[in-house]
Structures are given as structure tokens and as C-alpha cells.
Symmetry: C2
Subunit: 447 residues, 2 copies
């Protein structure tokens, strides 16, 4: 090892920032488990035949080879580009051992061979929750999934993460509206509406006419629908007022109304209906979601997903699913990046440094450290025997709040190096204040 | 997604076994942090120029390509095959931001393109601890590293993992002994001794004579050294009794004596000196370690490592390191494999299922669930409205211990479905017994 190499798109954090990331991951994990989601860890690797099914995404796949392999692999492999495809494969492979509806979360890296940009990486951590049904999956899971994400963002907000807002729509609502209007090329309607923010209403109207077979009246109706947004189920009246009728439209409205009503009971304002949200990918069949951080909308959605009626299928069976995927690395890029929002009180777990004044005193220092650790206090022993002043500077540089001075003659003393206060201490009794035991995460503006 | 594909060498666990793996990882993490090691997460990917430096290992590297790339990559990448190489690169890249000696741990997957066997995988999780110095690294870290691993295995043993024993040797001791005997081709001496268990003493003697330039007397002396093992520092007398002298030999003995003495203070019997341990790879320069699970010696070492004086280096600087790597997946293969040692009390986090007797009662059930979750209790709401008996069977199949029956008229009741006991309960007050809140890990034989 003799050369350093920065690789664009492969973020790595310094230890003090990894503390923040771990805290984020712990809060997510805890929230998901409180809601009954079981942890699943999938392998990083899938056969290309599994990964490359959805035409739109296969450009971004990292393929695997072996340095000294000769010729082609019989079963070529690639790195997964999301956690949905491997989860679908995992469900098929283990269906006989799982209980349905199967609620699982996964927090793992994924890889995409695309060009890195702000908030877009080539290796990044996703935190996914999904509910997968056996043949059927009740609509109320489309309500549950974003409400779990609301809880997750609430927990992150206590940490100092900016406020998040989830926007939702429903594919059945869009499809029913299109069909009710007499537009049967639903995919083209969705693709056109999906571009509203990028190209504006005039161009979307043109697209609807050119690609979806709409006349001007139909196109205008689509645009009116796409402009509807509301923080309550009142959006339904605006849709109905457009005068379009279709059974699917009613189903979509009902599910979205249930979502808004439940969300407003749990956390008023956290979820909004926004009928221009279409999500480009083809496979969604019910509610779709995106999530934006207030003040960081330019980052794009930090948690997206939806319902897909054929998440996994065999010749005999179909497994519908609904889920959302939170982009942990994208979030982290705003928490610890250029305009850092969070900081850790220190970059080491250590709360106490046991000083070593002479190398032959190390066994006594080790004993004190062992006694403190047994009581759950993270401790380090000074790496080199030195004067007290140097030991304190060693602790200061690392943000370790306490230095322990052993003394066989006069008894140990421990110093809070922030205040200078020094007290007698017994390693079987003394403990730092609760808030100093582990590093804490603080808002930069609250420091 | 329409096809399942088992991939040999890429282990995945069912949810109830992932609970065991997570418990193992939590205990490792906690032990490492109590000892002052900071978490570092490295990217999965390195330039091949970084990975392929050590000739011995490059056959096993998975290389990366892109599905639609044309021609050769300018900077070809591969997946890391261990956590040491990326950590060395991380240290060089971030040296200006790190405090030395830098104590870090990493718990991450690594990939090797080798043939899968019992306990050998192509994707597996390693848990590494290392201390890395700036130019210098005191010998006492060679004592600290295995003692941290002893603590980790002690913590795992409380979970039900079989007892572990660490065996240690010292490269300086071996090198000093060889040089003291007049054998200067130290690498060949080490390689021969390393084969003792595989090929037996006669063949090692032949190898020493053929490859290391030893005469029969020198070869016999090497074999006598290799046979020495002891649970205390008394091994030193046996070495000295062989009558070989060299300054390096003395240094090696002193470090190994310090390790045995410290280990016996903390945990008598956990570390043994075994002078045949050489570790094949070239770069170790001080203590070397291997770890075996009692009763599972055939699995090979589950935690290995050593000291390397040039872990990382630039033209101007050298960073010595000492570390050990614990094979989490290898360990897991014995904990949950054919002769399963551990089991989880359930495969879901859920402690309480809130029953739903009619679909229009779901909002009330959701409210109860929210109240319980706010108090840290993992709760699921029944996915479909059904009779009480079916709700209980739903919970039973998942191992959920409690079912909550809401009733607006008579007040809620909660049933422990293991005992049948049913009591009135208020979602703002009732809690399950502490031991039922989260799934526990049990020994199979203690069930």
C-alpha cells in the first residue's frame, strides 16, 4: 500500500461523521422495528439475468469479472443497483419460510455506474421498507408505509435533520382519470405528466397531444389534475369537480384520502397529495411517494417508492408489494457536506483516557480501564507514558472529556478537562454524566 | 422478477437468523467501542492498482465492469477482498484529519472469487480492529488487540457462541531464532514451519533442509521451537533452553511474554503461545494471531491477524499497524447452520399484535399501536379484519407473544398467547415484561 486514490462517487466519512451516519442508521432501524419490520440483509451480487430485466436501468449496472478468469462466465454477475430487485428474488427463493404479509427492512449499499453529481453517488446506502403480500396486499399498507417514513423523519429531526415532507399520488387515480377522459395510452400520459416540473405545462400539453393521443381539451384536463395539491383529503373534491368518472379513479381517490386522513391524525402536514407525482418507472400500480427536505428541494427526493402489484412472480404466484427507499448517503451529503448541519461531540467513542505516567505502570492503568469498561464506559489507555500535560493534550485533541490519573499512593483522581474540575474516583463506582458516556450528535447552529 | 437463483458462496439468512447476526454485530461493535475504537466504513471498491499489489491474493479479486461500457476502463476497479488494504488506503488519504495512534474498527462485507467451501464464502462479513501508528507503534498494542478480541468472544459466549481460544506467536521470535541458528532465509523457514499441521514434522524437516538451507541439527532445532506451546509466559524458558541467541529473539519473547501475562490477568486460558503459528502472508513483522472455536477447530481460524510495520506508506512516511479480523460469516455458518447452536425467540421484532375485528376499526387499532410504539414497544396491527381465533393464530405463527384486543365499550384487553392470561390494559400504561419487548437469542440446547 503506497498510493492514495480519491474515487469520485464513492463517499467515505471521517470517524466523527461516521458517528452521525451510525446514529441516523440506528434511528431508522429502531423506527422500522417498532413498526414490526424484520431486518433482512441481501447479498450484494445478483445474476445479470435478474438485474437486467428492467430495460431502463441496465446501463447503470456494475458487472463482475475475475482478474484471472479465462473466457466468459457461465452465470455473469453484477452488483445490485437497488434493494427492491434482490428483495423480490429473496422472497421467491425463501417464500416457503416467510410469513405473509412479509414486512422487512434492509439498510445496505447499492451501486450504480452512473456519473456522480450532487447527491448522486456510485456507491450509496439505501434504507428500504417494504410489505410484500402473497397474491393479495390490502390497500392500508399503502397508508402504513409513508407513515412509517414520517416517524423515521420525525426521529431524524430530533437529531437535527431538516424537516421532511412526503408528497403522494396514486397511479390508479392517474390511470382512471386518463381512461375516464378516453385516453388509453396511460403510460404516455404518465410520462408526460412526470415531466411537468422539468419542462412546464405548455410542453406537457404538447407531449400529451403528440404522444398520448390527447386533444387539447383532454390535455388541459390532465394539466388541471396535475396542478392539484393539498395537505388534506380535500383534494378529492377538486378531482371530482373536474367531472371525469372511472372506477379506477374512485379507487385511487379512496386510497389517497385514507392516506391523507391517517397522516393528518399522526402528524398534520407531513404528507401532501400532489397529483403531478407520477414516478417514471413503469411498475408502480398504486400509491407513489417522494420526499423532500425543506430547504434542500434541489437535492431531489430523499425517500421514494410506491406500490407494485407484481413485485415478484412465478408461473403460479404473484407477490404484490409496497415500499419506500430512503437515500441515506444523499441525506448524509447534506448533513456533513459543505453546509454542514450536524456535528459529533467527538470522533472517538472514548469518554475517559487513563493516563500512564511510566511504562511499568501500564498494567495498573489497564486494570482501571477494564473496571470502567465492565460498567459500560468507553475507555482508552494512554498510548505512551508521559507527563500529565501531554496526556491532557492527547485527550483534548480527540475530544475525550475525562482524564483519569491513577495513583497507588494517594488514590485515583479524574479530571473533566473541559472545566478543570478534578475529583477522587474509584473505578468500581465513578461514572461520567450520562450525556458524556457516548459521543452525541449536535446541530452545528446549536453548538 | 420471475426467477429464483441460489448462488453458492453468497450466504443470506432468514429473518430469525439475521436477528442472531445483528446481535453478534452489536456485541462486537459495543466491545470495540468500549475499548476506544472508532467506526470507519470504507467503500466496497478500490482501484485494481491498490488491490493487486500482493501477488498471492490477486487471483481472488472480483473486478468491475459496466454493462454497456465500450473498451477498457482508464482506472479499473475491483471489490475489496479484505478490510486491511482499504483501511491502509483510507489512512493515507485522510492522514491529515486523523489522530495517531488511530484505533478503528470496520464491520463490512468483503468479496473473494474463490471456490466456496465449508466456512469459506465469496461474500462474507469481516469485523476488523486495527491500531495504526504514525511512524511508530508501541509493542503494547500487540498485547491490546487480542485482549479486545478476548472481550469480544467473552461477550459472544454469553450469547451462546462456543468458547474461543486465541493462539499467538511472534515473527521476531521466529526470525531471531532462525538468524540465531545461522539461517538467513527467514521467509523459507517461516513457510516451512507454517506447514507443520498440514504435512507433519518429517516433511517440514525436509523442507527446511531443501528450501531454507538448514542442516539436520538446525532443522531439528526449528522443529523443537515449533512444538513449544503454553498458556503462560513459561514458554519463554523452553525457548531459552534451546540455547539459541539473537537480539530479535529476545524482543519477540518479551512481547509474547507481556501478551501472555496480560491475558492471564484478564482472562486466564484465553490466549496461548503456540510457536508453530507463522501465518503464510509475508507482511507480518511482530505478533501473529489465530483463533479457534472449541469443538469447531476444523472450521479454521475465526479471527486472525498480526502486526505489520509497513501497513501503509508513502515516499516520506510509514504507518505501522496491528490488527485482527474476525470472520463473522464463518462464525455464523456454525451458529445457524446444520448443527444450529443458537435460535431467536421470534423472527419479527413485534412484541404485540393489535387485533382488528372490522376494517372500519383500523384507525382505533392504529392509534393503540402508535401509543405503544411511542413508549418503545414494537407493535404490528393485524393486516386483515378477522375473528379473534385467526388473529391469535396469526401471532402464533410469527412468535408474537401478545395480542391486543381493542374495545371501545369494555376497554382494551391484552392476551399473553403462550399462557392464555388475558388482562385489561391501557396503551399509555401497559408494557410487556422487559424480556419480551425484543426478540432474544437462545442456545438451542437451552430452549
Amino acid at each position: 500500500m503506497s498510493k492514495a486514490a480519491k474515487l469520485s462517487g464513492f463517499p467515505e466519512w471521517l470517524p466523527q461523521d461516521r458517528i452521525i451516519e451510525e446514529r441516523v442508521l440506528d434511528l431508522l432501524k429502531h423506527t422500522f422495528e417498532l413498526n414490526g419490520f424484520a431486518a433482512v440483509n441481501v447479498r450484494a451480487v445478483e445474476p445479470l439475468s435478474i438485474l437486467a430485466k428492467d430495460g431502463e436501468i441496465d446501463k447503470e449496472i456494475f458487472t463482475l469479472g475475475r482478474l484471472h478468469s479465462e473466457g466468459k462466465e457461465r452465470n455473469p454477475l453484477g452488483l445490485h443497483f437497488d434493494l427492491t430487485v434482490p428483495t423480490a428474488r429473496y422472497v421467491l427463493e425463501n417464500a416457503g419460510h416467510l410469513n405473509f404479509p412479509f414486512k422487512r427492512y434492509s439498510i445496505q449499499p447499492v451501486w450504480r455506474g452512473e456519473r456522480p453529481q450532487d447527491g448522486r453517488f456510485r456507491e450509496f446506502i439505501q434504507a428500504d421498507i417494504d410489505v410484500i403480500g402473497d397474491e393479495v396486499l390490502a390497500d392500508h399498507f399503502e397508508v402504513e408505509i409513508p407513515l412509517v417514513m414520517v416517524q423515521a423523519f420525525d426521529a431524524l429531526r430530533e437529531l437535527g435533520v431538516p424537516e421532511a415532507g412526503i408528497v403522494a399520488n396514486n397511479r390508479k387515480l392517474l390511470e382512471g382519470f386518463a381512461r375516464g377522459l378516453g385516453l388509453d395510452d396511460v403510460t404516455s400520459v404518465l410520462r408526460a405528466i412526470d415531466k411537468l416540473d422539468k419542462i412546464g405545462p405548455e410542453k406537457v400539453e404538447e407531449l400529451l397531444i403528440e404522444t398520448a393521443g390527447a386533444d387539447q381539451t383532454q390535455a388541459k384536463q390532465c394539466l388541471r389534475l396535475a396542478e392539484i395539491e393539498s395537505g388534506t383529503s380535500a383534494f378529492a373534491e377538486d378531482v371530482i369537480a373536474l367531472g371525469v368518472e372511472h372506477p379506477l379513479l374512485n379507487e385511487g381517490i379512496a386510497t389517497l384520502v385514507a392516506l391523507l386522513d391517517s397522516a393528518n391524525r399522526l402528524h398534520p402536514g407531513a404528507v401532501k397529495a400532489q397529483l403531478k407525482i407520477a414516478r417514471g418507472l413503469d411498475y408502480y400500480t398504486g400509491t407513489v411517494y417522494e420526499t423532500f427536505l425543506k430547504g434542500h428541494e434541489s437535492l431531489g427526493s430523499v425517500a421514494s417508492g410506491g406500490r407494485y402489484d407484481a413485485l415478484a412472480k412465478t408461473d403460479k404466484k404473484v407477490y404484490p408489494g409496497v415500499g419506500m427507499s430512503l437515500g441515506v448517503s444523499r441525506l448524509m451529503s447534506r448533513l456533513v457536506g459543505a453546509n454542514r448541519a450536524l456535528t459529533a461531540t467527538r470522533g472517538v467513542p472514548t469518554a475517559v483516557l487513563v493516563a500512564v505516567t511510566a511504562e511499568d505502570q501500564r498494567p495498573e492503568a489497564d486494570q482501571i480501564a477494564t473496571a470502567l469498561r465492565r460498567r459500560g464506559i468507553p475507555v482508552d489507555v494512554s498510548p505512551s507514558a508521559d507527563k500529565f500535560g501531554k496526556q491532557i493534550r492527547f485527550a483534548e485533541r480527540r475530544g475525550i472529556p475525562f482524564v483519569w490519573f491513577p495513583s497507588a499512593e494517594t488514590g485515583s483522581e479524574v479530571k473533566d478537562i473541559r472545566t478543570g474540575e478534578q475529583v477522587s474516583a474509584d473505578p468500581d463506582l465513578w461514572a461520567p454524566p450520562e450525556e458524556d458516556i457516548w459521543p452525541r450528535v449536535l446541530r452545528v447552529d446549536a453548538e
